[in-house]
């Protein structure tokens, strides 16, 4: 989980402010061209992440893959343009990702999700339904372990038939069973009288 119940000073700031600050800083980083300024912001972002008391195990693998991508970018840009330009690009991306991890790892998953739902709430003015969005998000989280189980079962069954590496033999049963789960759940929701229409729209 790239989100956490953190106890540092960053966790005390409201998610909306952190998110807004990250957005503004990301845009600002692209407008700054001086490598010394970029380097100082990078150092600030490192300090921020180190003082935020985050669990580094959570981002070890993502950071390694980011480092690999960035070294490729550095070498490519260095050869194609010049090395100072390459340094600027890499500093920019690294700073942005470290800041993003500082925000993600000091914010609870629920709080982040709630923020996104607030951001999306104006959809009701164009005919969308915020209740349905909330239902879809929470239902997806509940379905992920179940679908993973189905996927493992199907793969094991096809492995027994010698078809484990045949994507068609794995995917068709997975999709059919997913559709059946969806139908059953929709029927169960109907049977329990779940009504997701907002009160204002009821006739």
């Amino acid at each position: 989980m790239i989100a956490a119940n953190n106890t540092s000073y960053l966790a005390l700031i409201k998610p909306g402010w952190k998110f807004g600050a990250l957005l503004v800083l990301s845009i600002a980083l692209y407008l700054i061209n001086s490598w010394t300024v970029l380097l100082s912001i990078f150092i600030v972002s490192v300090v921020l992440l180190l003082t935020a008391r985050v669990n580094f195990k959570q981002i070890r693998l993502p950071l390694i893959s980011l480092a690999v991508i960035l070294s490729v970018v550095f070498i490519l840009l260095g050869i194609q343009t010049d090395w100072l330009n390459a340094l600027r690009s890499v500093l920019r991306l690294l700073t942005m990702c470290l800041l993003a991890y500082s925000v993600s790892l000091t914010t609870k998953f629920e709080a982040m999700l709630e923020l996104f739902q607030q951001v999306a709430s104006p959809v009701r003015f164009v005919g969308g339904n915020p209740a349905q969005i909330a239902l879809a998000l929470s239902m997806t989280i509940r379905f992920i372990p179940e679908l993973k189980k189905v996927y493992v079962e199907v793969r094991e069954a096809q492995h027994a038939r010698g078809l484990a590496n045949n994507p068609l033999a794995v995917t068709v049963p997975l999709v059919i069973r997913s559709l059946r789960i969806a139908d059953e759940t929709a029927e169960a929701l109907d049977a329990r009288g779940y009504d997701s229409e907002p009160a204002a729209f009821r006739r």
Binding site: P62, L76, C97, A100, Y101, T107, L137, K148, I176, L179
Partner: protein
Amino acid sequence: MSRNPSSSQTKNTVYIAVFAAMIAAMGLMPPITLGIIPVPITLQTLGVMLAGALLGPWRGAMASLVVVVLAVAGLPLLSGGRGGLAVLLGPTGGYLVGWVFGSLVIGALFKYWVLRRTGNTARFLAGLASVIIGGIGVIYLCGVPWTSVATGIDFGTSLVGSAAFLPGDLFKAVVTTLVALTVHRSYRGLMS
């Protein structure tokens, strides 16, 4: 059986949630290795393509969007256990945005073009073309310029870099078309 609007709305939401969970589950599983392609392929974009081809444009796009939103909010759903705000800001964020539009385009092409073809060969070719346009064309169209802007690498190099994934993606396009047409045959009215 006649359905009132609210119950079909609930059904749409459940379909979106189940397919989003399927895309997520496909990313959590270890990648499948095939003899013909050297890089092991993850099935996550297969799920994105299938969501469009099976659920139609808007429900398909919503399923992809739900996965992206949950991943960005912090669930490690993307292949390799990635998640958090950094995945969107990083050099490959454009591909994630592309998923939503890719599913949308595949869904629209399937709904209004592929499923109206008659004859197996015509259907397969139309389906394959749709999945390649939406699942490769549209997704790369969002991802390649994004990488180029985020890193400063020029457009051509970024395009060449993404070509490494082309064999795997073409393979997934064929699988998606075959699966989608098989499922549509046995599960009629999925898009009506």
